[in-house]
């Protein structure tokens, strides 16, 4: 059993067989660590990651459909949670989770006008109006006659 400690000092005891899905943890376990502090992962995110790893730990054929269903539901989270998961999964080297997260986030960017993307992701536009106008003109070819939203006020 390996003990993980989140940045909020909450501890979790998990079997080693589940945790080796994380490359980082696997390396530490091979170096004979049993207590692993994770200062860059907070408790909420860690709970979700452990849930993910538990589900993906035993991959028998019969469970593949369940795993797919689980993955689909797992991605139905707020953007903040998804981004926190990306950061944590990157730190923990869980590539299968990352491969799930990237398309989910990309899907939320697709099919949206620029202003919508800015609002959803809380992006602050740091272009000057002239720069913005120039960029929009440069990329006019992509807009195929659809109206470019009124960001030129």
């Amino acid at each position: 059993m390996i003990t993980l400690q989140s940045s909020d000092k909450d501890v979790f005891e998990i079997e080693q067989s589940i945790l080796i899905q994380s490359g980082t943890i696997k390396n530490m376990v091979e170096d004979d660590f049993t207590f692993i502090p994770l200062p860059s992962v907070d408790t909420e995110t860690l709970i979700k990651i452990i849930e993910y790893m538990k589900k993906h730990a035993d991959k028998t054929d019969s469970k593949e459909k369940n795993i797919k269903e689980f993955d689909k539901d797992f991605m139905k989270k707020t953007l903040n949670e998804l981004f926190a998961l990306v950061f944590a999964a990157n730190y923990l080297h869980i590539s299968s989770l990352l491969e799930l997260l990237y398309p989910s986030i990309a899907d939320r960017i697709k099919d949206k006008i620029t202003e919508a993307i800015r609002q959803i992701f809380s992006i602050r536009c740091d272009f000057t109006p002239e720069e913005e106008r120039r960029i929009i003109m440069d990329n006019k070819w992509a807009h195929e006659g659809t109206e470019i939203e009124g960001t030129l006020d």
Partner: protein, 432 residues
């Protein structure tokens, strides 16, 4: 057309470099991370272990989680120990992307470009802010751009569109190389550059590029009649065919049946023709499951004037009683069709377009294409286009006319004017 081979070497080394770079970046995100992190503001004093060195960033995440507690009153969710709020949070919610280092944002953008359904999906991100603009133009992101993302509309063609395609091609995007190559070769009349771009894509085993180069070789496009190289055309066609390209399979089948550029082998040729049909059916079935559920797939529904519509029926399979939608045309062909038809650019005095609607290729010199030997009113860049157009449209309207004295047509090796007409194809396919 020997300049194609000269460009091969240059393209080959470019390919090797691109391949190596892609290999590195695909194998390990560490590589990108170390390259990019040198110049960025968040990574001072970074240790080797990623993730451990972003204490500032963690604070942003936690405070954001605090703010996003279920009650949106925004008042203290006092169970968090840390109370320091960064100045950004108090005034304006921090950018979600700020919490991620560049290599992760790049990965997200890569997924975005590889699954984008149109250019707008991606371009809208470029307009959002400076950081995303900068990262969006990263070569890794551009190299993953999907075919649909590069589907420039001919009416919107401009220097910036050209520049964008060039950026993608330089980043190693094969589809961009092919699309830009076709546009430069046929629309912008820049034969050398167009051919070399297509060669670059062909070297990476891009089937449409191989097939397009084969057509160029068969016709001696961009040069004169003596520049035709039938054997080179067959070789390129064969490579494309072995990759499963349907038009190339058909073309190769016809070449074998006619002994055109290759030793005649009628049985082998017929095998390829049948394989082309089978692949077309398989492609359509795997890509459009809705075609199976809609009632229309067992009934003949000829809409010859509707180009590129998903409901258009695949013509050759109608011989076998299967009417499935024809596969969608490549954006490059769509561009050519729009450029010369709806945009109305004239390819040149007396130069004609391939009469197959989905092709869009123009002649590059007079009488380059061959005509239908029955009516002489339509002409095609290749046998594959002729076969498709025969079934889709021309069979219904082709009527024998008085043969004109040859001042117009080019002769085949065996002295006949134009292609065989479609009737022979009919018999060949029915007998299999």
């Amino acid at each position: 057309m020997s300049n194609i081979y000269i460009y091969r070497e240059r393209a080959h080394s470019a390919f090797v470099v691109a391949g190596v770079v892609c290999l590195f970046t695909l194998l390990s995100l560490h590589y990108i991370h170390q390259v990019i992190s040198l110049s960025l503001f968040l990574y001072k004093g970074m240790r080797k272990r990623r993730g451990v060195a972003y204490p500032k960033v963690n604070m942003y995440i936690e405070n954001r989680l605090v703010k996003r507690a279920k009650d949106f009153s925004g008042n203290g969710t006092g169970h968090r120990k840390r109370s320091k709020l960064s100045p950004e949070v108090t005034g304006h919610r921090p950018d979600l992307f700020d919490s991620l280092p560049d290599d992760l944002v790049l990965s997200i953008l890569c997924k975005l470009t590889s699954s984008a359904a149109s250019p707008t999906d991606f371009v809208n991100v470029l307009i959002t802010c400076k950081r995303l603009n900068g990262l969006g133009y990263h070569s890794l992101v551009l190299s993953k751009a999907s075919q649909k993302m590069l589907a420039v509309n001919a009416h919107n063609w401009s220097e910036s569109a050209h520049g964008f395609l060039k950026l993608c091609a330089d980043a190693g995007n094969i589809e961009a190389c092919y699309t830009l190559g076709m546009i430069r070769f046929y629309c912008l009349q820049n034969r050398g550059s167009g051919a070399s771009l297509m060669a670059k894509a062909a070297i990476s085993s891009h089937a449409p590029s191989l097939y397009s180069l084969a057509v160029i070789q068969f016709n001696g496009s961009g040069g004169s009649k003596i520049d035709k190289d039938l054997r080179a055309g067959v070789a390129l066609c064969a490579r494309a065919a072995f990759l499963g390209h349907i038009d190339a399979l058909r073309e190769l089948g016809h070449c074998l049946q006619d002994g055109y550029g290759v030793k005649q082998n009628i049985a082998e040729g017929r095998r390829f023709l049948v394989q082309a049909n089978a692949r077309e059916l398989a492609t359509v079935l795997s890509m459009t499951p809705s075609a199976l559920t809609s009632g229309g797939w067992l009934t003949w529904n000829p809409l010859p004037h509707h180009r590129h519509v998903a409901g258009t029926v695949c013509p050759l399979l109608s011989d076998f009683g299967c009417n499935v939608p024809a596969p969608e045309a490549h954006p490059a062909n769509r561009f050519l069709t729009e450029w010369f038809s709806s945009k109305g650019v004239v390819p040149g005095t007396g130069l004609r377009l391939c009469s197959h609607a989905g092709c869009g290729r123009p002649e590059t010199r007079r009488h380059e294409f061959r005509r239908c030997s029955v009516c002489g009113t339509v002409n095609y860049c290749s046998r594959a286009c002729q076969a498709l157009d025969w079934k889709m449209r021309h069979k219904a309207v082709c009527t024998r006319v008085e043969r004109r004295i040859d001042e117009d047509g080019e002769n085949d090796a065996n002295g006949e004017i134009g292609f065989d007409n479609g009737d022979d194809d009919d018999q060949n396919m029915m007998q299999s």
